[in-house]
């Protein structure tokens, strides 16, 4: 079983970079997959995520909360870069979504 984890966006575009930097979560050292709204799919995907990724995620979240509390951000060289955004949850999340869609498809019948 292999889950290929993607680094950076599928296509690098200037408008993408602009939007990414504008959203601001990268200034806390977070990645895009850290800030997903935790709906049922995401919760299930997180349950399946290997422990090392969960630990890294929790570290980043804790650090971000601390930064937020102290009303500071990381020094600029530690900001998450648009090209290095680590989509660790994506393959798991997509699988969960596929499974849910399969169930929904069956329940329509």
């Amino acid at each position: 079983m292999s889950y290929v984890i993607r680094k950076g966006p599928r296509q690098i575009t200037n408008i993408g970079r602009w939007a990414y930097n504008l959203s601001g979560f990268n200034q806390y050292g977070l990645h895009h997959n850290d800030v997903l709204y935790e709906n049922d799919d995401v919760k299930e995907a997180l349950r399946r995520l290997p422990q090392q990724y969960v630990d890294d995620r929790n570290y980043r979240l804790t650090r971000a909360l601390h930064l937020s509390m102290t009303k500071t951000i990381l020094p600029k060289n530690e900001w998450t870069k648009y090209e290095e955004d680590f989509r660790y949850l994506e393959p798991y999340l997509e699988e969960v979504q596929r499974e849910r869609e399969e169930k929904e498809e069956w329940n329509k019948k």
Binding site: M1, R47, R48, P50, R98, E99, E102, K103, E105, W106
Partner: protein, 444 residues
Amino acid sequence: MANSAAVSKIPLFRTLAARGYASQPAVAAALKSGDVQTTTLPNKLVVSSTETGSAISRISVAFKAGSRNETHDNLGAAHIIRVAAGLSTKHASTFGITRNVQQVGGSLSVTADRELLSYTIEVTRDNLETALQYLEKSVTGQLFKPWEIADSTPRVKLELANVSNQVRAVELLHQAAYRTGLGNSLYCPDHKVGKISSETLQHFFESNFTANRGAVSGVNIDHQMLLGYAQSLQLGSGEGAKNDNKYYGGADVRCERGGKNASVAVATNGAGWSNLQEGIAFAVLQRAGGVGPATKWGQSAGVLVKAIQAAAPNTGATTLNASYSDNGLFGFVVSGPAKEAGIAVEAGIKTLKSCSPSDEDIARGKAQLKSELAFIYETDGSLVQELGVQGIVYGNTLTLKGCFDAIDAVQAGDIKSAARKLSNKVSIGAVGNLEHVPYAADLN
């Protein structure tokens, strides 16, 4: 996996074969009932099929992947893989497998013993196509996703908690008698529950679920169709696990659990199926020794059981004959009050070592063995598994008549010479209150 996409992948000719077959099942069935057709594919997969005329088709895919193929590193893998049947594979999700099989009223089950793991699907003839498709999807390309394996841990724990003392005693007997290989328990050891990684399972799967270690058997399915199906299975190749079958006598494994009862399994070296005649001789001998009453509230007529119950009247006893492909155990299991256990075991061993069955016992043994086999062949569910076992163990299959002929060919002299071999050292597995249970070292 979208269902509609999956259905459209069915090759046209297979669909036609299934439809054509469904419209005229009874005629084809009546023609060749009882015949068993067996073909060995170039990749050594053994395919066998037969017709019984029933409206239900049963197809079984079996592999030499039972617990005897485990090593110390992956002890318990066979149990976990059995529990993981029907979980997500490369080709289908758990939900997809369950729902699609349910939708056609089918039933997918898996059976494990020390030698084999066999996956069986049962479905009405007109839905054979879907059933075969999902049997393939659940057997090949197994993935053992870590979260699904973790989710099934409670079930493993429940199964372990439900193992009866008698079964536990037989498991311990195997451990005492063979140490490794055949000595591995059918059940995952307690200390490994929840600790067998996905990678370990994957490795066990890849090395043992190969074509040359497998068999496909079918009841009420056209042989050509089954051959086509077997050829299309994506199976790996490779030698797989080699394992030990050396018998060590004079050992015991005891599990003291207190209470008022004791269950003790005692056995010496028997025979495996590598020598068919000897295997049958021990099977007849087991029936001659007694395998429990044939009538409700009745008593066993067997010599061994009678001898044990004469010495220890409150103890239940049965003759044990565990034959594997290359070796076997022959002895007895007793279960009853702890105080009687010692007397029962000693009486049993005395009879075992001086066993000389009369002609009457042998005739009864043969008759019982034949009727048991006839019952197996009569029931499609057990027949499909029996064909799989025969396919893997002998590389060929027998009809019921072939079995009867083989039993008749075994002479009284063969059975008596098998009985003389029972003077070997015994091994003991015991569970419960073991105060009075003797040690193997003192008995040999």
